[in-house]
Amino acid sequence: MKQTNSTPHRKNRERARQFAQMSDNIYLPCQARVDEIIRENDQVLTFVCSFEDVLCNKDFSYVPGQFMMVSMPHLGEAPISFSSSPTEGTGFRLTVRRAGRLTSAMHELKPGDQIGVRGPCGTPFPVRELEGSNLLFVGGGIGMAPLRSVVQYALANRERYGDITVLYGARTPADLCFRKEIGLWRRQGVTCLLSVDHGDENWTEHVGLVTELLDQVQVSPASDRALVCGPGIMMRFVLQKLVTLGLEPGSIWTTLERHMKCGVGICGHCHFEDRLVCWDGPVFSMAQLPDLENL
């Protein structure tokens, strides 16, 4: 196993340190209010949130790729990525798939309810380094949530980025999120290709694996940067395919998922070889991932 204790790794840590210094008690959540709830599909809701405390709202900032530790009464915390971009106004959005106890309880929330949040945690996508490049997004399932954040960010800073392409796969048409936004993105010139494992009678787009969508786009290794998020197995195939298409591992970015408790690099739960996903990541360049077996 080769070690890549490279500079991007260190840089990631610097970014994560910013949050750690922001609050004097890194474990203490503050109160956020759910202002609006958007139903993406049967299993997924988007929560539009803002802080109860006006000062928090004013000081709060994050970068796409980071996440929040979300508290629900008696159920502890779960890490949830920002699905919004800081360019979308104050507050933030969380897009949550009903997966277990805490996320199901979130699905019972109503506008006006409070949740506990702490963060932003983790290292973001390198939005600065990506400037000047074409962005190729490959999302699977709920993995589209953190990518939506970057798409919105890039659209808000349109002149800084080249072509934007979104490849997005889900199990069935009913499992897709952000349907309305995808329409808006298309109107803004974003190439969006969708794919489902099983279509229905209304489905006119691709049926199959999201990797197959990569055959339908022109990938130019010199100017393209890829951002990938989805289930581990899908990521493995996508990453491998991107490399065969000529992309350098250093220009492919992913965000990983692990069991998390503290979110600030202390509790040890989210270990991934010698890294901690909450602190050294969750965003990693593929050059930082020694093997793709355990994504």
């Binding site: 196993m1 080769k2 070690q3 204790n5 340190r17 949050f19 750690a20 210094q21 004097d24 008690n25 890194i26 474990y27 203490l28 959540p29 503050c30 109160q31 508290s71 009464p73 008696h74 159920l75 502890g76 915390e77 997966a99 277990g100 996320t103 929330l109 109503k110 006006g112 309810d113 409070q114 949740i115 506990g116 581990g232 998922e257 692990r258 069991h259 408790k261 503290c262 600030v264 690099g265 202390i266 509790c267 040890g268 739960h269 270990h271 991934f272 070889e273 010698d274 602190w279 355990n294 994504l295």
Partner: protein, 359 residues
């Protein structure tokens, strides 16, 4: 560095004086014959035991096995909505505490915990509170205990730094080295307990430290193990064998002075209030990395103990330039499956040798 002499007869009177300003913690033999670092409430009845290795380390004093981080409370409107969901921190008190009779490995372990809880990452205010007003009087080990291998991890049997005061038993007296400012202050404030060290005592201390190095009963090739792991030679067969023997009890991690992984969970008190608690956790537990939907990115069957050994011997060497095994040998006594640091290193080196000779 200043050196002094403390006559053994003066030890308890000195501790009595110090206990006016500090809560006192020292290795104490309890009624069951166990020696544990304990808070001493009454110096006259406590049996301070400097002859045995304390069974536990100092870890619980800085990072308690269970600790409330905050309270939470909820208000609901008539629809059951959460109109207030607020968190109130519950910080531990930071009483000045004197840790007396601390072994070198345990002192080094506290310095390792410092790295984890407030140097490399965000400041952990709970740990910081416990740690803030701590003073350490350590004692060198003239006679290392049977499972000790701190010579191989370079964490003992005597310390070169990190202590406030370090004692060496040189017969009728303790030879006293002053380290950090808090130690110097103690010597200055209670100067009448201390006399100046002469050439003879200095030589006695040097002799004791030298002899101790020759008294280790187990030869543990820590450096070789690190080197092999760094070269990328993972002893897969050893991990498989040890994982099979591991019973998932967490004992090794709980007894280890440097295992600091934890869990955080909510403890409801009423329908609308409760506490958020952190408790010790261990990477050998099956559920440690399990995510929802029973997905586990770590293959638990073969990798159960892999993380523990790699973390201590490889990952921490990469990140902090040193192992996080302090050579205290406690896991050797703890594990009934024989899955301990000495066993691992020995098996790994044998495995490597066998591979090389093509056996």
């Amino acid at each position: 560095m200043e050196t002094r002499i403390l006559h053994k007869d003066h030890l308890v009177p000195l501790l009595r004086r110090l206990s006016r300003n500090y809560r006192l913690v020292a290795p104490v033999r309890n009624e069951y014959g166990d020696t544990l670092y304990s808070v001493i409430h009454d110096l006259d009845s406590a049996r301070i035991d400097l002859d045995q290795q304390p069974q536990g380390s100092l870890k619980p004093f800085f990072f308690p096995q269970s600790e409330v981080l905050c309270q939470y409370a909820l208000d609901r409107n008539h629809d059951g909505g959460q109109t207030r969901y607020a968190f109130y921190p519950q910080l531990p008190e930071n009483r000045p505490t004197l840790y007396f009779g601390v072994r070198s490995c345990d002192m080094m372990a506290v310095m390792y915990m410092d790295l984890i809880f407030f140097q490399s990452r965000g400041q952990d205010i709970y740990y910081a509170r416990h740690r803030e007003n701590a003073v350490f009087i350590t004692i060198g080990c003239n006679h290392p205990f049977p499972n000790c291998f701190c010579n191989a991890t370079r964490t003992g049997p005597f310390l070169e730094h990190g202590y406030d005061l370090q004692l060496t038993d040189i017969g009728e007296q303790y030879f006293v080295e002053t380290g950090r400012a808090r130690g110097r202050k103690i010597v200055e404030a209670w100067s009448w307990f201390f006399s100046t060290a002469g050439e003879r005592e200095r030589r006695a201390q040097f002799q004791a430290a030298l002899e101790a190095r020759g008294l280790f009963s187990s030869l543990v090739h820590v450096d070789l193990a690190i080197k092999l792991l760094e070269e990328g030679d993972e002893p897969t067969a050893v991990f498989t064998e040890l994982s099979r023997r591991c019973q998932d009890c967490g004992g090794c991690a709980f007894i280890c002075p440097t295992c600091t992984c934890f869990n955080i969970h909510d403890q409801p008190r009423t329908d609308d209030s409760g506490e958020r608690v952190r408790t010790w956790d261990a990477c050998t537990f099956r559920g440690f990395t399990r995510m929802c939907g029973d997905h586990n990115p770590v293959d638990v069957e073969t990798q159960r103990v892999r993380k523990r050994f790699l973390h201590k011997l490889l990952h921490d060497v990469r990140h902090h330039g040193r192992t996080s095994c302090m050579g205290c040998g406690r896991c050797v006594g703890m594990c009934f499956g024989g899955v301990d640091m000495i066993r691992f290193i020995t098996m790994m080196c044998q495995y490597e040798a066998a591979q090389e000779t093509g056996e």
